[in-house]
Point group: C2
Chain length 642, copies 2
């Protein structure tokens, strides 16, 4: 792939991309995404030549422990890599997200009478595999709908995948599909040699400002290798010594291994100079902008600094038991609309469930072609690409904090992208509602069971399930802090928040700050507890009711709220022991989901009340009763232990 795509890589990086290798984080750089991430060496080579500080020695350490050149491009390892790619189709979606971020900021900040301060292209190289993945079709459909004119995608059409020739499974008319999706489509039939054709295609693509551009470039995989080009033998394995020698002969390349002629470095040296000049020019533009529009200029600088404005969390409301008990999805709506006022980078949307997820920002309209400055993104029924697009938005590194929403169950559609958020430090807020059998009549296809456990097991992500208004506010506070790496751990990580369809009371013992500890005593017994109830979300008030009854009947019972296991596990041992005293072994957890994992807290002698089968279609109160998630069951479980 690096051999087949070398010409487009060269033309892009050396002739068309505005970037400053000396400052890979320059805000207005053109973004580049290698969606076919297995071709990472193409990008490493280009970065080495362009002067990104990646040495030849780094390149020699390809795919080795601790190197800057891992098997796939990883933004958290190598400066200048925008996003982490490899899982096919998703890099393309990230590119859509980057282009969307640019269009959004351009619409919000650029002014007709000064030079634009937000004005860059997003380039992407995708392969056959990316185009077979459904997630890329979703994102392409949305990009076409929004008319993201500054997104330019090269399709490396080499007709080879791991199985062999794409005729085995992929015979659709890809170009016609992109046309149907509303893209500007071009073809470059001789992608290995027709450098001018590549140049022309980029220029044509730039002329079309109301459609994203798809350039189908026919290439030979392993171009130059006389015996292995155009075979899947070059897909996942090196050429080997003999074939490498034969390839050098074929390409008339007279230099040794890792030997790069000065002429090449010189060629790329100009890129560096141009990049520095471009950034300087932009600095001047921004200065002029700020002079003419001081307020907007300062807002813009604050935004792209990536720092949270001081006092941003003060807008989060608190609740007392006198406040009406609501579904946490309604509290979530309150928090979203509050945070939008204090966080200029905060925006997002839902995968066609806005009226159910309660995610609309009331002060704004819908993002659409010609109104890209609006803040409600209508993702359509496209959960997977929604998440991957948000990863791109978050990694635009412009201070944007995207949220995206669906039913909790449909995180299963988006799971790989949510994992990529966790892996690549994309500070996205995954807002999910209808978080248990509490959703009722839609039945088991729509009722999450194992999803809480499955995210708790995922590295570098927070699974938050708040139990009332204060905890919802606390969850958002934690999620935003972690999205920006501003929490106590310093980690940049996304959060999955699970909200209920059904209402629940506001508890006297809950607070915003308590959520930050992950687990805390929300209601204590008088004196040392005989038993501890652990609960989350909609089962928290049920635990409190059970504890009230137990306390009345003489069993001193503490209720521990556990909105985030990850945060609780990060507290020091003495805090953990103060919440869960090791000598109180009568412990019962209650959560309307899989009991998987709870043994960690309740111990082998404790009990877990939950659901380890699929749900069913019926009204929520019936389901709670039939599945045994009741006050009576909790009381009885505690009594069996003390």
């Amino acid at each position: 792939m690096p051999m087949g795509c070398a010409p487009m890589g060269y033309v892009l990086w050396n002739e068309y991309m505005n970037h400053n290798p000396k400052n890979p984080t320059w805000f207005d750089r053109d973004r580049f995404v290698l969606s076919a991430g297995h071709g990472s060496m193409l990008q490493y080579a280009l970065m080495h030549l362009s002067g990104y500080g990646l040495s030849l020695d780094d390149c020699k350490q390809f795919r080795q422990w601790g190197s800057l050149t891992p098997g796939h491009p990883e933004n958290f390892i190598t400066k200048g890599i925008e996003v982490t790619t490899g899982p096919l189709g998703q890099g393309f979606c990230n590119a859509v997200g980057l282009a969307l971020a640019e269009a959004h900021l351009a619409a919000r900040f650029n002014k007709p009478d000064v030079k634009p301060i937000v004005d860059h292209y997003t380039y992407c190289i995708m392969g056959d595999g990316c185009n077979m993945e459904g997630v890329s079709n979703e994102a392409a459909s949305l990009a076409g709908h929004l008319g993201l004119g500054k997104l330019i995608v090269f399709y490396d059409d080499n007709k080879i995948s791991i199985d062999g020739h794409t005729d085995l499974s992929f015979t659709e008319n890809v170009a016609a599909r992109y046309e149907a999706l509303g893209w500007h489509v071009q073809k470059v039939p001789e992608g290995n040699t027709d450098i001018d054709g590549l140049r022309k295609s980029i220029e044509e693509a730039k002329k079309v400002s109301d459609k994203p551009s798809f350039i189908q470039v026919s290439t030979l995989i392993g171009y130059g290798s006389p015996n292995k080009a155009n075979t899947h033998g070059v897909h996942g394995a090196p050429l080997g010594g003999d074939e490498t020698a034969a390839t050098r002969d074929e390409l008339k390349w007279e230099y040794g291994e890792f030997e790069i002629p000065d002429s090449v470095y010189k060629l790329f040296g100009d890129t560096q100079k141009q990049g520095e000049a471009k950034e300087k020019e932009w600095d001047q533009n921004l200065a002029e902008y700020t002079k003419k529009y001081p307020k907007e200029g300062e807002d813009f600088k604050q935004l792209i600094s990536g720092k949270l404005p001081s006092g941003w969390a003060d807008v989060l409301p608190t609740f007392t038991p006198e406040d009406k008990g609501l579904a946490t999805r309604l509290h979530s709506q309150t928090m979203l609309n509050a945070l939008e006022t204090s966080l200029p980078g905060f925006f997002g949307g839902s995968a066609d469930l806005a009226p159910s997820n309660m995610t609309l920002l009331k002060a704004y309209g819908d993002m659409a072609k010609g109104q890209m400055g609006e803040k409600n993104i209508r993702f359509g029924v496209r959960e997977f690409s929604m998440a991957a697009i948000c990863n791109g938005i978050a990694l635009h590194s412009s201070g944007l904090i995207p949220y995206c929403a669906t039913f909790f169950i449909f995180t299963d559609y988006a799971r790989s992208a949510i994992r990529m958020a966790a892996l690549s430090h994309a500070g996205v807020l995954f807002v999910t509602t209808h978080d248990s059998i509490g959703l009722g009549e839609d039945g088991p296809t729509h009722q999450p069971i194992e999803q809480l456990a499955s995210f708790r097991a995922m590295p570098n992500i927070l699974m938050l399930r708040p139990g009332d208004g204060n905890e919802t506010a606390g969850a958002y506070k934690i999620a935003v802090l972690n999205a920006r790496g501003a929490g106590p751990s310093g980690k940049v990580r996304p959060s999955v928040m699970a909200f209920s369809r059904q209402g629940m009371p506001n508890l006297p013992g809950s607070s915003i700050d308590a959520v930050a500890k992950g687990g805390y005593t929300v209601q204590d017994s008088e004196g040392k507890p005989d038993a501890i109830l652990l609960a989350t979300g909609s089962e928290l008030s049920l635990a409190v009711e059970a504890a009230d009854e137990l306390n009345k009947s003489g069993t001193k019972t503490r209720v521990v709220s556990m909105p985030s296991w990850e945060l609780f596990d990060e507290q020091d041992q003495s805090y953990q022991d103060s919440v869960l005293p090791p000598d109180v072994i009568a412990r019962v957890s209650v959560e309307a989901g899989s009991t998987f994992g709870w043994s960690k807290y309740v111990g082998q002698k404790g009990k877990s009340i939950g659901i380890d089968s699929f749900g069913a279609s019926a009204p929520a109160p019936t389901l709670y009763k039939e599945f045994g998630i009741t006050k009576e069951a909790v009381v009885s479980a505690v009594k069996s232990l003390v």
Copy 2:
């Protein structure tokens, strides 16, 4: 949706579909899939009218506990429902699977000189949501590639989704996209009234035998409702009393609630008679076929009986320590090729990773247009639809046992479909390889961490991770038994099997039968153990090595292999206690994945060696060392406990 789609439902069910409501499991029935599963009442109404034994009382119990009419169609609840739908896009993929199963069996069994014994259509109704989901594009691309001519899909183009008008997010040219995917495309612009147009479209579709058919039917959602039709107000909520009355007026429908005129029942009564006649005719065809082709006829009957042929598992080989240690993905290849010889319904493929997953059936070629009888399905890079298509194949209820393969990490792409397999009792074998950091250089985007835990938490599915050749054979035996509901539990459930890239030795204590117990003592200490090591897969031999060292140094250590937690938990308590004696509390688990959940077996005082962060790009041995999954770490953990 039931109102907007009533005409197409009526035409299909009453005029075109060959089905025998008195025997919903008649093999050669036309299959029907309501991919827009939220419109379930359309199907319930049609089933009631057609005489499927669904009473008016059943319809009145819509979405109530224990009813036959849950919120979404569920094949395991309601006789006559083929597959479970609701999660959008997947029903369409199931339909592709059903059509693929038909085409495969037709190619294998039909003979030119007798009437066909496999000859039915698959009909599907899909909505806007289904078409926005990327998974449907994947399956449509494959269906077009394979030329599934007997698949006929109605697209209920009502332009309304939950968010509102599809103009908000979905403005692509859907018909042109399907044309690009190789489908035969028609439009019926007046789908609410043009019954003849619907009839004609079906007849035209049947004439095209080398392409699947896509019929875009423009409808009004809530057709007939004077004030709510064509709004998202009718999408997820009932009309209400007043509007229902207004709708009756508008449609000139003079009958009461749940009152159906006899004329309607009479009309559908003919369907029943025709259905019975059709089945009888097929019985005769099969009899004639069997007369002329006795061997094939018996094979066919055996296959569609769904029963496993006697002695089928005898083909599974066993291994001794003298046999060369191999990667379990290579053992898996052996099992797949062995089972193909004894199970006539066994076939499948990989999502473009056949040479890595080692899943090719060597005796067969690739399934393709014109060679649908072959047994290697080339799914392309389409994990999600691959899984959903296999669900359709399994639920064709013709004795087919499909397997499908990808890297373990990319089960994240397919997760919702794998869950649907578990929920809907689709006996699919999910074959996954490269099951840990042991895959090495591809790095963290490709290295599973939390996937084992995430499937262990999922209901009604077996997560199997075998540790050598015998355990691989045992895993396949269990997986096939469960796919057919022939295991001790009687449950029909799919399995996810995780195989290694790297080699491991064959252990003396492993066996096929032991795997059936989920966990067992693979190597015991002399006398009562001081400590127990628990391990799975590639870490099993590492645990054995550590135990050898511990036993030598005086710490009596037992090694327990845990290839399936689910099966172990299903054993009686005395067996469980015999493997994990409650008084042996020095327990250490070792598994190259998340430690999440292991506390259940090692207890709060035990230790778990695993990886709770993401992996890295480096050679596998380096990764094991750097992440501390070593014999030394295991020995040291045990010593700290005893």
